[in-house]
Amino acid sequence: MSNVEGKATAITVMSPVWPGARYYLSALFAIARQPWAKPALEKLQTLSFIHYARWTVIPKFPDGDKAESLRYTYLFFESNFNGTWDEYIDAFSEVVPVRMWSIWFSSFGFPGPQPVEPFKRYIRKNEYVANHYWSAYPGASTTQVISAGRVAEAVAELRERAEGLDEKAFEEAYVEMLTKIQNDL
């Protein structure tokens, strides 16, 4: 069992929600998916260590050709991030507490994102540990992936211009490129 693969950590949480909350959650996520609500999701980019995350409202569980209904609807959450579990929960608690509250307040036993210790106990109780976890680039953090994208773009741009530049002009363009992307190296 492992929630860790190189720098990447998996978190898998599924929590029961109050009766009726599925309608609230479905509406909340439907709004969050709208283009005009994009800034709300972009707030997650300030948590710069998340590669991918998803929320799923589960009123019924697949069971072959039919579905199995339980007493409650469940809220499923998974994340792929770099760093430790504690750092991740601390950051969620500190940076996006209102969003956390709006998503999980209707879950049974949710203590709120602050203070962080009861919140961590709650997550631990609702968490499932992965039996097998895979990352295609376990050595790279989210920041490194995004930085590498900027570097590759700058290199491709300079490569395209290089043929038309003499050696002096190329050196200037090269130094300019390095200056522009120095924080990404």
């Binding site: 898998t12 029961p16 998340i50 991918y52 339980l70 097998h132 895979w134 992936v145």
Partner: protein, 181 residues
């Protein structure tokens, strides 16, 4: 409105299938013993950024006002964050996982095996749950893009160190040699 499983070109697949209950411990042992990195069967499914299998015994009981709840059988969760559309991915999953898929999902109810592509894809879809909200920090980048960009970054760092303080003569040609497409 677009597909809620999609962000950029990335797709979030969530599959939760009932396990034939007397076989749970076999499945747990098999998954726990899978190798990591290149030894993982998922290494053979090239467009997968991140994926996991999780055996879920029972839903969480929080106590308090919650009444006990339970499935008729434990669930095997599979999630994947991958490039492109679902159908081609399911085919690469079927081909890439091969016998590992038969062993793993063979513990689940009504799994048809990987021999029949249509039956495999239909079974996965029957057990799929749509994402309500999917966040991808770099949803426009494929796995290939990410690996290539990381390699370019590594090579530029080395190139810059090797050419630090040098003259302009030859720099352009050396750059073009190093970073030719």
């Amino acid at each position: 409105m677009g597909d809620s499983n999609v962000s950029g070109q990335a797709y979030s697949l969530t599959v939760m299938a009932p396990i034939v209950s007397e076989k749970v411990s076999h499945l747990v042992n098999y998954l726990d013993d899978l190798g990591s990195g290149d030894q993982s069967p998922l290494a053979r499914v090239g467009s997968t950024h991140f994926a996991r299998w999780v055996v879920m015994d029972a839903p969480v009981f929080e106590g308090g006002h919650q009444r006990r709840d339970g499935w008729s059988a434990p669930r095997l969760l599979f999630t994947s964050n991958f490039d492109g559309a679902l159908d081609p991915y399911l085919e690469s999953l079927r081909v890439g996982l091969g016998e590992d898929a038969n062993t793993i999902w063979g513990h689940c109810k009504d799994f048809p095996g990987v021999a029949d592509a249509g039956a495999f894809a239909a079974w996965i879809k029957r057990n799929q749950i749509d994402s309500s909200l999917f966040y991808a920090a770099y949803g426009e980048m494929t796995v290939e893009d990410v690996l290539s960009n990381l390699e370019t970054r590594r090579r530029l760092t080395e190139f810059a160190a090797a050419n630090q303080g040098g003259s302009a003569a030859g720099l352009r040609d050396a750059f073009l040699r190093e970073f030719s497409p």
